[in-house]
């Protein structure tokens, strides 16, 4: 006797993973009207998506990402003037406020552009990870020129539990150091590195196909 739900409307507590995610994590249509995500992070994720799935969204065989969930977290920059002459120094923090319980962290990487071509020069960048109580500090710089320009470095040991709600994560004291190699281009800030969390969602996970129970021929 119930009238059909209009498109997009959902029950209060959906039990299916897709609908629960839609209810809890999806932006409202007003947020979308404010402007879709754009820029380098979106471009990176679209490339990752095209490698992992075909045009119909079917996961490609042999191109597995090794997990069923990858979350991109953008940095929040600290206040202050990052430019000093030809040098750029920007401390960053990454926060994920509420990590769903069913999503188990496998590893975390930071993705950055070590070299940004400008009109008459290059901006060369490295990342500095501050030491924690368990891990020494590190300076990240790829040994070879990375394919597609992006470099990815494992920062799992540097990820700490956040102070906020249960399941929150934080990566503090990541510092971008960049310098113009030569020339006198205008001050173009490097795009901020972003954090990728490789997660295993035990609800929507890539469980191996259930073996078909043996049945006798009829």
């Amino acid at each position: 006797n119930q009238s059909p739900l209009p498109p997009g409307s959902l029950p209060a507590i959906p039990s299916l993973p897709l609908l629960r995610a839609l209810r809890v994590r999806a932006p409202g249509s007003q947020a979308w009207q404010a402007g879709p995500a754009s820029g380098q992070p979106l471009r990176y994720m679209l490339n990752l998506y095209r490698r992992a799935a075909d045009r119909d969204g079917r996961p490609r065989r042999g191109h597995s990402l090794g997990t069923n969930t990858i979350r991109l977290v953008q940095a929040s920059a600290h206040e202050g003037q990052p430019w000093a002459g030809r040098w750029y120094v920007q401390p960053l923090t990454y926060r994920l406020e509420s990590q769903p319980k069913a999503e188990h962290l496998l590893r975390a990487t930071v993705v950055y552009l070590p070299s940004l071509p400008l009109l008459r020069s290059h901006l060369l960048c490295t990342l500095e990870l501050a030491a924690t109580s368990k891990t020494p500090g590190a300076l990240l710089s790829p040994a070879t020129r990375p394919r597609h320009g992006w470099a990815e470095a494992d920062v799992t040991p540097y990820l700490m539990p956040g102070n906020g709600s249960m399941g929150s994560l934080v990566l503090r004291h990541v510092c971008v150091h960049a310098g113009r190699a030569r020339g006198h281009d205008a001050l173009v800030a490097p795009s901020h590195p972003f954090l990728l969390l490789y997660l295993n969602d035990t609800r929507a996970g890539l469980a191996p196909p259930v073996a078909e129970p043996h049945r006798h021929r009829r």
Partner: protein, 124 residues
């Protein structure tokens, strides 16, 4: 009498419009905009969940993957009481879909959801 049933099969198929009305997988391409989710899911651009439709024949072929109970229910419908419905034509096997989503906090999420595309049908 299995001999009679087998003899019935051609006329049964004619009566139901032949194999075209048999339980089978049908395409149904949609967009996430039609579902009202296009502000959230940005890839893929097209989605074909497909669906199963059609009559479950009196004699269930092996490729329907029907359990023994479905065979018995089919016989009950045909031979004992038509109020007991014929087995239903429903999806049997599914494949997952990968989606790219935008979240409220501006994050971007890649996720694989299981059982999003019907791959074959059965009579249950």
């Amino acid at each position: 009498d299995t001999g009679t049933l087998a003899h019935d099969l051609p006329s049964y198929l004619r009566e139901q419009g032949g194999e075209k009305s048999d339980c089978s997988l049908r395409p149904f391409p949609i967009s996430f905009a039609q579902l009202g989710w296009d502000h959230w899911i940005i890839a893929p651009h097209r989605y074909n969940p497909r669906y199963c439709k059609g009559i479950c024949p009196r004699l269930l072929r092996y490729d329907y993957h029907a359990p023994n109970h479905a065979v018995v229910q089919s016989f009950v419908h045909q031979l004992v009481d038509a109020n007991v419905p014929r087995p239903s034509c429903v999806p049997y096997r599914y494949s997952p879909i990968s989606v790219l989503m935008i979240e409220r906090d501006g994050g971007i999420l890649y996720k694989e959801y299981e059982n999003m595309i019907a791959e074959s049908c059965t009579c249950r």
